[in-house]
Symmetry: C2
Subunit: 191 residues, 2 copies
DNA sequence: GACCATAACGGACCACGGTCCGTTTCTCAA
DNA sequence: TTGAGAAACGGACCGTGGTCCGTTATGGTC
């Protein structure tokens, strides 16, 4: 890990152009109907630039989600309870699941794209790691007899974007899923 | 639903050739290092034939998994307890999860491929449907106060192949995951 | 056996994600 | 200001999944 050199001016310029172009095209045509070529074109940038910057298509989606996720992360780490510290574990988990599903529901397509990293990149990126650690700590608090690390993955699994999307299409609405999830996880964490 | 016309002789011949070729190549080079072109070539068949028959890459994986899954399905529906009918719901769910994770662990790559149907095809195919219905019935039996339909999806979510794969790579072994899953689901289904 | 409707075949073709590498732009220090 | 080294650019290029449609095999009928 060397020092992270400041971002070069042209790099920053292009990064913003790409993000902006992607947001525009995604909003207009739907995430999955927009190719990376199209984004590069709209941004007035070479395709190689997009990949250099974001790694792959999923990375671009991650970048677009980032600011919304960061907001939630901030609330978890230092916001008011029950999302932030200071409430019982079950309440905090419930608050997290509710907030996350809200976010997920509003940006399913983007999440779906961001989770599609053929290899398991999804489980290695920062935000998943953070959600996982957060939940694991709360599991440990509520049910020290369980395998907190693994159980946290179990709790996060139903938040997969493709499942959410499929269930929406099957007629489930958000409140029903939130209620179901909270009920399940509450049962799980109540000794 | 019209009558399903018997399979034509050449079609059957080619179907078997493709399945056989795929199995061979997958075993030798790893599922994700084998292209559909390569399979068609090895099978001595046009690429179009493969797609006509199996729809897409995921469909081919599904076909390869089919016989193993059918075996488990049979045991669920009419085998001896606790997998089959006649045991308490929790025991049946436990037995199912144990058996399924066994299967999943043995064929992760294939499962991963089969679940990669960019759109949510995964949740629409027969086997998922069947697992879901099975679990939903047992949830209903054990915890009639829960939303059985949705809860069944929650219980199946941790069985996603990409998660399983990622956790294996992170050092979790099968018994640990089985134990964790059974513990979680037991807690969930115990009122 | 000849004929026909129909289903299956197969490979050229396309779009897309991702890589590569010669060219351009930036930064910073002298 | 300039020059050198590093970093970023960008578009030609590649492999892959998936489609299309003219050609060929199949199996029933007379």
């Amino acid at each position: 890990m060397g020092e992270p050199r400041p971002e070069r001016a042209d790099a920053r310029r292009n990064r913003l152009k790409v993000l902006e172009a992607a947001e525009r095209l995604f909003a207009e045509h739907g995430v999955k109907n927009v190719s990376v070529d199209a984004i590069a074109l709209e941004a007035g940038v070479g395709k190689g630039t997009v990949f250099r910057r974001f790694g792959d298509r999923a990375g671009l989606a991650v970048a677009l989600l980032d600011e919304r996720e960061v907001e939630l992360q901030g609330k978890l780490l230092s916001g008011p309870p029950p999302l932030g510290p200071g409430a019982p574990a079950i309440d905090r988990v419930t608050a997290f699941l509710t907030a996350y599903t809200e976010l997920l529901d509003r940006h399913v397509e983007l999440f779906a794209d961001s989770e599609n990293a053929s290899d398991g990149a999804r489980y290695r990126i920062g935000s998943y790691r953070l959600w996982h650690r957060h939940i694991a700590i709360l599991v440990e608090e509520a049910r020290p007899d369980l395998d907190a690390d693994y159980t946290a993955h179990v709790i996060l699994a139903p938040l997969a974007a493709d499942l959410h999307q499929a269930l929406r299409e099957e007629g489930f609405d958000l409140p029903r899923m939130q209620a179901g999830l909270v009920a399940a996880v509450t049962a799980l964490l109540t000794a």
